[in-house]
């Protein structure tokens, strides 16, 4: 061990004295060039090449037609029809309160005056989710039944979830142009993985004996699939649709960068106009949409035999006819849009509140802002670009990787870190890393103590948990809005927003870890006369350590996911570059940025997971 450490130290000294400070531009491997060439080829041939004329453009037209169709139906319908339908569907499970709440959520966008924007967003989402189901379910079935396909698909699905959405958008803009249809396709790509995964999971979880029983009665493969495996996988498939919807809603804001319009556009504008109140109100419309879709899909599946309102067929037909009649009458009377709206006035107090906060707490926020920027971020920049050589960075990173996860990970880390430099994005990566580290440290300082405290108070947690979970459905740009107002534009609002965004799962995972500590261990410590403090530090936290590390890991990932948003509010780094690449569009830059973020995320993720494994208390065999 000692010899290893001294070896690393020697290596480090070598690297530092002989290496180059920063990452020299001469080593750039010019990854961007072929891609930029491809981009100009696409531009030249967009209207003439067969690929566009006969495949991509017709495809776009179909998607566009679908979106317009849904949109026109919703625009035609009087506002109360969807509310009634949602209420009726959810009420079948006899949970009247939930049903009323869902119906209220349907009219909420109307109440705040974004009815038509919601229709635009919902139409796009509906088409995107429809395509996801169309592709995802068969793909999921295939992966579940065929091992080879599963092995081929898994890395692709994993990759799809780490690549930042802005990077997806670039090739889509390139090949499909800008508008609602390309935005829908981008959403499909982003939201597809859970659909495939959960379908496959559902099929695989079907009890083996049920499949064997079907086989034993001489069912054909198709009969087993259609009558046993698929029906039993339905709950999992619905969860998949649910997840897909949530993912799709998650990029509503980013999708506006390629012309999605709708609620995302509204939210985007509130950021520009610095109206956090209105931003919040509109975002709640997104949350409302999520809530409605969630409740409706959940009420469609239920365990067989659960209580349901039974409706006679005739009654059902009569009420459908009645509803159609009401729709026509409503239409004739001109009750299409929501009759009244509180609109902005409802949000004004919030805006005023933030303005007051900004001026009042200027004494605190300004020094905080300056401290983070000047003392930490700028210093980190100089440290990595002028003081430490890139070789030394590689040595330190891979030595740590070796320590926690062995030589394979060490090699991967060394290659990954070097590769980020080779793509020419060293500076941006350092910038993003510094912001990430700051945000993560602040998140840890807040989330872990709260989590540890909550872990021993299950009652309080039961109250707080749904609130924390709800936070995660709010589009992450919304988090940034208030902080852009409070702090000046720059990296700090992004960092603070990332902290707020990352804290809920951090708290949840930490408290879960504390709660799951074996009660007997605690009792044992108590009988030996340990004090409360000794039990907390020596037993609970020790045993919960793997969970805590996973909480930190989750927070790192969430902070990284926020990097793009941070770029949108002036945070710089890779996030800013990705937006620059998208609005260019500059595909070469996009690919560089995408690779850099994915590599960074992968390394951090694996290192933290390995750390958690190392800390795992040895389990008796």
């Amino acid at each position: 061990m000692k010899r290893r450490i001294s070896g690393i130290v020697v290596l480090l000294i070598f690297a530092q004295t002989l290496g180059t400070r920063g990452f020299p531009d001469s080593l750039n491997i010019g990854l961007a060039e072929p891609i930029t060439n491809l981009q100009s080829w696409v531009r030249k041939n967009r209207s003439s090449h067969w690929l566009f004329e006969f495949i991509l453009n017709p495809f776009i037209s179909v998607v566009e037609f679908g979106i317009e169709l849904v949109e026109s139906v919703f625009t035609w319908l009087p506002w109360f029809v969807p509310a009634i339908i949602v209420f009726a569907v959810v009420a079948r499970t006899r949970r009247w309160g939930v049903a009323s709440f869902a119906a209220l959520a349907v009219v909420y966008p109307g109440l705040v005056g974004v009815w038509s924007e919601s229709i635009v967003t919902i139409s796009l989402m509906a088409v995107a989710v429809f395509i996801c189901v169309l592709i995802g379910v068969p793909l999921g079935v295939l992966t579940a039944l065929n091992r080879r396909i599963e092995l081929a698909l898994r890395p692709i699905l994993d990759g799809m979830q780490t690549v930042p959405a802005t990077v997806y958008l670039i090739p889509i803009v390139l090949f499909f142009g800008i508008g609602p249809a390309p935005a829908a396709i981008a959403t499909v790509i982003y939201a597809l993985p859970p659909m495939v995964r959960l379908t496959a999971l559902g099929i695989q979880q079907v009890p083996k004996s049920a499949v064997e029983a079907a086989q034993m009665f001489g069912a054909t493969k198709r009969q087993v699939l259609a009558k046993v495996q698929l029906p039993l996988a339905v709950p999992s498939i619905i969860t998949g649709i649910n997840q897909t919807v949530m993912m799709a809603l998650g990029i509503v804001v980013i999708a506006t960068l390629v012309g999605a319009g709708g609620l995302g556009q509204e939210i985007n504008q509130t950021v520009r106009r610095l109206q956090p109140g209105r931003g919040l109100v509109v975002s709640l419309a997104v949350v409302a949409v999520a809530l409605v879709l969630d409740r409706v899909s959940m009420s469609l599946v239920s365990t067989p035999g659960a209580p349901r309102v039974r409706v006679k067929r005739n009654t059902l037909y009569m009420s459908l006819i009645g509803l159609a009649f009401a729709a026509v009458v409503g239409k004739l009377l001109g009750w299409v849009e929501f009759p009244f709206s509180w609109g902005t006035s409802f949000a004004d107090p919030i805006d005023t509140g933030f303005k007051w906060f900004r001026t009042t707490f200027d004494v605190v926020t300004r020094p905080f802002n300056d401290f983070i920027v000047r003392e930490i971020l700028v210093r980190a920049q100089t440290l990595f670009n002028e003081t430490i050589t890139w070789q030394a960075v590689v040595v330190v990173a891979s030595a740590f990787a070796f320590y926690v996860a062995g030589w394979k990970m060490s090699l991967f880390t060394a290659c990954g870190v070097t590769f980020i430099g080779l793509t020419g994005r060293w500076l941006d990566a350092v910038d993003t890393l510094a912001q990430t580290v700051v945000a993560v440290i602040i998140s840890i300082l807040i989330a872990l103590p709260i989590g540890i405290w909550l872990g021993r108070r299950p009652r309080i947690e039961a109250i707080i948990a749904p609130v924390l979970d709800a936070f995660q459905t709010i589009p992450n740009l919304v988090y940034a809005i208030p902080f852009v107002m409070i702090f000046s534009v720059g990296p700090v609002p992004g960092i603070v927003a990332a902290v707020v965004y990352a804290i809920p799962p951090g708290i949840r995972l930490t408290s879960l870890g504390i709660r799951q500590v074996n009660n007997e261990s605690v009792e044992a410590a108590t009988t030996f006369g340990a004090t409360q403090r000794q039990i907390l530090w020596g037993v609970r936290i020790k045993l919960a350590m793997p969970s805590i590390i996973l909480a930190i890991n989750q927070m790192v990932m969430m902070v990284l996911a926020m990097a793009i948003i941070s770029g949108m509010v002036g945070g710089g780094g890779l996030g800013y570059r990705s937006i620059e690449a998208l609005t260019g569009p500059n595909s070469g830059l996009g690919v560089e940025v995408g690779l850099a973020i994915v590599i960074m995320a992968t390394i951090l993720d694996r290192l933290l997971q390995a750390t958690a494994r190392r800390l795992q208390a040895p389990v008796a065999v």
Binding site: P207, S209, A210, E212, A213, A214, Q215, M216, F217, G218, A219, T220, Q223, K227, V228, P231, L232, V234, T303, P304, G305
Partner: protein
């Protein structure tokens, strides 16, 4: 279809090897006498079923008893080809099971053979009645016909009134009744039971065993029954096979096994068995004549039936064979001797 005088099921030298690699070589290794553990170490392959041969007559109940890991579950799956045997021959009334293509196999499963599963294998998304009718539905039989048939079977297994419930709303014992009904609905000649009652608690288990014995009296199917419970094997089996490490230690009637265990392994199970309940009077009959012929007993009766008689009066009892001819006597000494063997 084969003729009636052939055994309903005939297994000849059936092997099943798990794990990647050359299974033929592994079988050679096993034939040369290597144990399961040695083979696993050498080839990374597991010999789950090892050279098993047996035949089951029409209408017979054949029980395979073994502990977990003995290969009994694999064996019954080879019998239904849910798992393909690696080597060997299986004849069902003379028809070669392993030569059947997928279509023939499907036909066989649709009509001639059914299975009852350990964890019931019910379809949680279907009502009880639709579970029972499943085998008929797969055969595309008319809905009204199959529901009528399913209802009839439902009543046979004593589940009247539960047709419209879902399986998970039923108790374990009732769920397995559904499993049994589902298997019976297709009217199969051969019934395979894969530890059907082991997930049930002891009282319910006994009740289900009685139910099965009662049903079998009237329906006379060919049954292969897997269990890890020796007492269950003794109660249900016309003949029993004791399985260990993939092969059979002994095949015989319950009485043969209890009175003459072939290996120390079998003896371990036998030791815990109340012999008086299993062995017949014949096994304790000694030569001699009784003073009076006032007390007689049939030679096939179980020993436990004569114990009260012997306690009442210490005099020999005359034993009669099926033709009512005296073949000897039993007395306190002869019974005590065999019962004492239990204490060893």
């Amino acid at each position: 279809m084969g003729s009636g005088d052939q055994p309903a099921i005939d297994l000849r030298h059936v092997w099943r090897v798990f794990g990647p690699g050359d299974s033929a070589r592994t079988i050679e290794l096993a034939k040369s006498g290597s144990s399961r553990a040695e083979i696993l170490q050498k080839t990374k392959q597991t010999v789950a079923v090892r050279d098993v041969s047996f035949s089951v007559a029409q209408g017979e109940t054949f029980v395979v008893m073994g502990l977990s890991g003995s290969g009994k579950s694999t064996l019954i799956r080879c019998l239904s080809r849910l798992i393909e045997p690696t080597q060997g021959e299986i004849l069902l009334s003379g028809d070669d099971l392993l030569a059947m293509d997928e279509d023939q196999l499907r036909q066989l499963r649709r009509g001639r053979m059914s299975m009852v599963f350990q964890h019931f294998g019910l379809f949680p998304h279907r009502k009880v009645i639709d579970n029972i009718a499943y085998g008929l539905e797969v055969q595309k039989i008319d809905k009204s016909v199959r529901l009528a048939k399913a209802t009839e079977i439902l009543n046979t297994v004593g589940l009247d009134g539960w047709a419209d419930h879902y399986p998970q709303q039923l108790s374990g014992g009732m769920q397995q009744r559904v499993g049994l009904a589902r298997a019976l609905a297709v009217d199969p000649q051969i019934l395979l039971f894969d530890e059907p009652f082991s997930a049930l608690d002891p009282l319910i288990r006994k009740e289900m065993q009685d139910e099965l014995i009662k049903l079998q009296k009237t329906m006379q199917r060919t049954i292969v029954f897997i269990t890890h419970d020796f007492a269950e094997a003794l109660r249900l089996g016309d003949r029993i096979a004791i399985m260990k490490d993939g092969s059979f230690d002994q095949i015989g009637t319950p009485e043969e096994i209890v009175s003459a265990p072939a290996t120390p392994y079998v003896r371990e199970f036998v030791n815990d068995v109340p012999r008086a309940k299993v062995l017949s009077v014949k096994s304790v009959t000694v030569a001699g004549t009784a003073a009076s012929n006032s007390r007689t007993v049939m030679s096939v009766a179980k020993i436990e039936t004569i114990i009260p008689m012997l306690l009442e009066r210490d005099e020999p009892i005359t034993v009669l064979d099926a033709n009512n001819q005296a073949i000897g006597v039993v007395n306190r000494a002869s019974v005590a001797k065999i019962l004492q063997a239990e204490q060893k």
